[in-house]
Every structure is written in structure tokens, then in C-alpha cells.
């Protein structure tokens, strides 16, 4: 099984250069201050993300996984440690190489689906004709062909989240950050969206950081899982998931899958 993980990486480094991580975090911590009170939001975050990886950050509420996502998005600063995104082979522009998907689809109610997908392109001033072309391709990628001219309320929750994923890819970002994107969906839709996300990830070749509190979801999706614990908020573990791709739902019943999930349950003090 070990041999399969090498092919899991979508991007091959150019000849002659060693595989450098796309994201490098070392000893990252952040403290929120309000008045005299200090609240440790995240500590000890040390892990690398290779180009084209799908890394799942898992942990309970208040463990700092969402904070870390915001640090990666450049929305928050950090107090200690090193955060480096990009490498000579994969340069990173923080102003336009970030795509974001949240728990709520956050589609603009007054815009049709196609125009919703185009929002980041408008913000970045990307030429509209080319962007529209790409938006249609992306809607096809997420399985929403035929819904371009619908309004968000005409789509189900799962379909709205598909549109949000298409929106996160419109400006062709190198890094896509997802904050519990399927957390509000029902269990069956969620399973379906997990499979869809793996397919979209493979086809787009993006590096994805995926925050979830679903342990099984983290193992199923991640080529790597980073575990966080709360009280105090810190990173507790970081390991590769050596399950072959493409992943199928029956893998969840395999012994190796159970080994991974038990490892996380134990870290979270639930076993």
C-alpha cells in the first residue's frame, strides 16, 4: 500500500529539484487578547503540506484549526513560529492564490449561480469573457451544468456548496482552504460530497487544506491528517494516510481505516 501514496500527489516536481513542501509551518502559535485576558488559539503547529496534497485538519471546537486556516489565508497574523507558503517550483501570490469554502455556501442571493462563481474574478479584475468560459467549465466539473442561470434559493444545500467550490476555483488559486464545508449537510449528502471533492481535487490538482471535526471524514479525504486538541489548543499529531486512490466508501470498513480513526479518537481522549 505504501507505494500508492507517491502517485497520490498530483504535481510532479521539475527535474533536478528536491520536492519542497508547498506549505511549511514550524511552531506556529497565536494568542487572542481582549483587554487583559489572553486566550491561546493555537500552538505547536508544525507540519508540511506537499504540492497537490489534500491535508485534513481535525479536532474539536476551540482547538485552533479554523484559526490556522485564517492564518494561512492571510486574514490573521501569528505570534510565534514560521509560516511559509510557496516554493521556487510553486510560487505563491497571497493576493490571488487563495480559494476559500466555508460551512455556509455564502452565495449572494441576488446573483445567479454563474455570477456567484464569477465573484472572485470580479474582485481580482480578471477579464470577464475568459472568466465566464472558465466558470462554465468549473460548474461542469462540480456537476452543476444547466444551473448557471438559477438563483441560489432554487438549489439544494449540497448543490449550493458545489457552486461555492466552483467559486473557490474560478481564479485558479494554488491553495484552496475549506472550513468544514460539508458540516451543515445531511449525512448521505455529505458522503456523496466527500467522493465529489476527491474527484474535483484529482481533476483540478489543487493543494487543499480541509478543516473538519469529522474524524472519519478526515481519514477518508486526507492524504495527510493533522490532529489538534483543545484546552490548551495545540497540534497533537500529524501523519500520512496510506490508503490508495481513488478512495471508495467501502474503504471505511477496512481494517487500516479503523487503525487511523482509532489513532485520532485516542488523541482526542475518546477511547
Amino acid at each position: 500500500m505504501n507505494t500508492v501514496t507517491a502517485t497520490a500527489r498530483a504535481e510532479v516536481p521539475p527535474p533536478g529539484s528536491a520536492v519542497e513542501p508547498f506549505i511549511h509551518l514550524a511552531g506556529v502559535s497565536k494568542v487572542y487578547r481582549s483587554g487583559r485576558k489572553e486566550h491561546l488559539a493555537i500552538s505547536d503547529a508544525t507540519f508540511d503540506v506537499m504540492p497537490g496534497d489534500l491535508v485534513a485538519l481535525v479536532g474539536p471546537s476551540g482547538c485552533g484549526k479554523s484559526t490556522l486556516l485564517k492564518i494561512l489565508a492571510g486574514l490573521h497574523g501569528h505570534d510565534q513560529g514560521t509560516v511559509r507558503i510557496g516554493s521556487p517550483a510553486h510560487p505563491f501570490d497571497p493576493a490571488r492564490d487563495i480559494g476559500m469554502v466555508f460551512q455556509s455556501p455564502l452565495l449572494l442571493k441576488w446573483r445567479r449561480i454563474l455570477d456567484n462563481v464569477l465573484l472572485p474574478a470580479e474582485l481580482l479584475g480578471i477579464p470577464m469573457a475568459a472568466a465566464k468560459e472558465r466558470a462554465r467549465e468549473l460548474l461542469a466539473l462540480v456537476g452543476l451544468t444547466g444551473y448557471e442561470d438559477k438563483y441560489p434559493y432554487e438549489l439544494s444545500g449540497g448543490m449550493q456548496q458545489r457552486a461555492a467550490i466552483a467559486r473557490s476555483l474560478i481564479h485558479d488559486p494554488k491553495l484552496v482552504l475549506m472550513d468544514e464545508p460539508f458540516g451543515a449537510l445531511d449525512a448521505l449528502t455529505r458522503e456523496k460530497m466527500n467522493l465529489e471533492l476527491l474527484r474535483i481535487w484529482k481533476e483540478s490538482g489543487k493543494t487543499i487544506v480541509f478543516v473538519t471535526h469529522g474524524i472519519s471524514e478526515a481519514v477518508f479525504l486526507g492524504s495527510r491528517v493533522v490532529v489538534f486538541t483543545a484546552g490548551p489548543a495545540r497540534m497533537a499529531d500529524n501523519f500520512e494516510i496510506q490508503l490508495p486512490h481513488p478512495r471508495t466508501l467501502d474503504m471505511k470498513t477496512q481494517e487500516q481505516f479503523g487503525v487511523y480513526t482509532r489513532r485520532i479518537y485516542r488523541l482526542l481522549g475518546m477511547e
Binding site: K70, L75, I98, M100, F102, S104, L108, W110, L123, Y153
Partner: protein, 255 residues
């Protein structure tokens, strides 16, 4: 059952309800032998419209001018102030508590003052309509502009979107449903404001006419005046609804 489920069916029921009210009115006056000066029949009321001395057209036009003029001003001032507040937090923190207090003043109580300041006529009555209609528009618009999803803000910031982009692409269209919610409340209030103004001091308009015919106990004319005022209100409200229909996506409307 079909009547309830189709749009046409619902309209039909609405019309039927109005006709039933007319019928009840007619039967009550006819069978109860109610004197004309207490309650005129629908026919008597309609007949009042043909008393040319009353200058229905001119008076309706005056009242309409007051209502629509005051309302239009309230819309412009209300929305502009709300926009100012979103651009300056200090201004908002300074002005909003004051506006809430001002909103508590019963605007009707300002009537005598408005007459002192502006004499009487179309302008002071428009001011009356304005003063009562501006607050709901201002307060709901300000609220609409404030309501912005934190995650959406993050999305824009992660792409280094400008303040202006945030404003034009998200805040402003997002606030539109709230503007309309305020406009609907204000439409009803503007009509009341104009009429109260006419009651307090004026020489023209439907409210003024009501006071004139009250002296001669011409109740049918008073009824007719009330009906015309109501129709003016419905016209304004309908106009707002029409605009909302055109500019706000169904799902985004605030009731």
C-alpha cells in the same frame, strides 16, 4: 382547494373579500335604515364625487403631491444618511442614539411647530410626511448595510478586495431588501403624516376638504375623501411592491 393553490385563485378571493365588504356596507345601511349623515350608502358616497364644488381632482392632486414629495425626500435622505453611517463608524456611533431618540418624538406633536416655521400649505405638510417616513427607511437601511456575513467578509479580504468592491458588490445589493422593508412601513406613515398636516393647518387637500364638509355634515363626502386617501396610499404601496418585485430576488425579500 384549487382557489388557494393558484395565483389567480388567490386574486379572485381577494376581490371577493372586497366585494363582500361593499355588500355588507350596503346591506347594513339599507336594512338598518341608518341615516345618511351617520353612514351613507356606497351609492351616496359615490354620488359625492360628482359635487363639483369639492374640487376632488385638485384636492387629490395636492394631497398626492404632499405624500409623494415627502416620501421621495424621506427615501433620499434616509438612504443617504444610512450610507454615511456605514462609511463613518464614528458618525454612526454619534448619530444613531440621537436618531433613535428623535424617532421617539411623536411627529404629530411637531405639527403646530411646523406651521410656525413653514406657515401652512403643501410644503409643511410634505415636511410632516417626510419627518414621519424618514426614520423607518433610515433605520432599516442602516441595519441592512451592517448585516454582512463575517465569512463573506473573509472571502473578500482573502482576495484583497477593496472597501469599495465590498460596498458595491456585497453591502449595497445586500441592503436593498432592507431598504424596501423600510419603504413599505414608510409608505403607510407618509400618508398619515400628510393628512395630519392638512388637519392641523392647510387650505387645500383631501384632509382640508374633510374638515370643510364636516361642518355641513356631508358624511358621504367625508367617506369619499377617506376612500381617495386610502387609494393614494395603495398606489404608493403598490409602486414600492412593484419596484421590489423588479429589483429584489424572491428569496432575498425581507417581510
Amino acid at each position: 382547494m384549487d382557489l388557494l393553490n393558484s395565483k389567480l385563485g388567490r386574486y379572485t378571493l381577494g376581490v371577493v373579500a372586497h366585494l363582500l365588504l361593499l355588500l355588507c356596507w350596503y346591506l347594513f345601511v339599507r336594512l338598518g335604515e341608518v341615516p345618511r349623515f351617520v353612514m351613507p350608502s356606497p351609492a351616496d358616497t359615490l354620488a359625492a364625487l360628482f359635487v363639483s364644488d369639492y374640487g376632488w381632482w385638485a384636492n387629490t392632486a395636492v394631497t398626492a403631491t404632499e405624500i409623494f414629495g415627502g416620501y421621495a425626500l424621506a427615501l433620499v435622505v434616509g438612504v443617504l444618511l444610512a450610507l454615511l453611517f456605514t462609511w463613518s463608524k464614528t458618525l454612526e456611533a454619534l448619530m444613531l442614539p440621537l436618531l433613535v431618540t428623535l424617532n421617539m418624538i411623536p411627529k404629530v406633536a411637531l405639527g403646530p411647530l411646523i406651521i410656525v416655521w413653514f406657515k401652512y400649505g403643501v410644503f409643511p405638510n410634505s415636511m410632516m410626511a417626510f419627518s414621519i417616513a424618514v426614520f423607518p427607511i433610515l433605520l432599516t437601511t442602516a441595519r441592512g448595510l451592517r448585516e454582512i456575513e463575517p465569512d463573506l467578509l473573509d472571502l473578500v479580504r482573502s482576495l484583497r478586495g477593496s472597501r469599495w468592491q465590498l460596498f458595491t458588490k456585497i453591502q449595497l445589493p445586500g441592503a436593498l431588501p432592507y431598504v424596501f422593508a423600510g419603504m413599505k412601513v414608510a409608505a403607510i406613515l407618509a400618508v398619515a403624516g400628510a393628512i395630519v398636516g392638512e388637519f392641523l393647518g392647510s387650505d387645500r387637500g383631501l384632509g382640508y376638504l374633510m374638515l370643510q364638509v364636516q361642518v355641513t355634515l356631508d358624511t358621504p363626502a367625508m367617506f369619499m375623501a377617506v376612500i381617495l386617501i386610502t387609494l393614494l396610499g395603495m398606489l404608493l404601496y403598490g409602486l414600492v411592491m412593484l419596484l421590489e418585485h423588479l429589483f429584489v430576488v424572491k428569496d432575498a425579500r425581507v417581510s
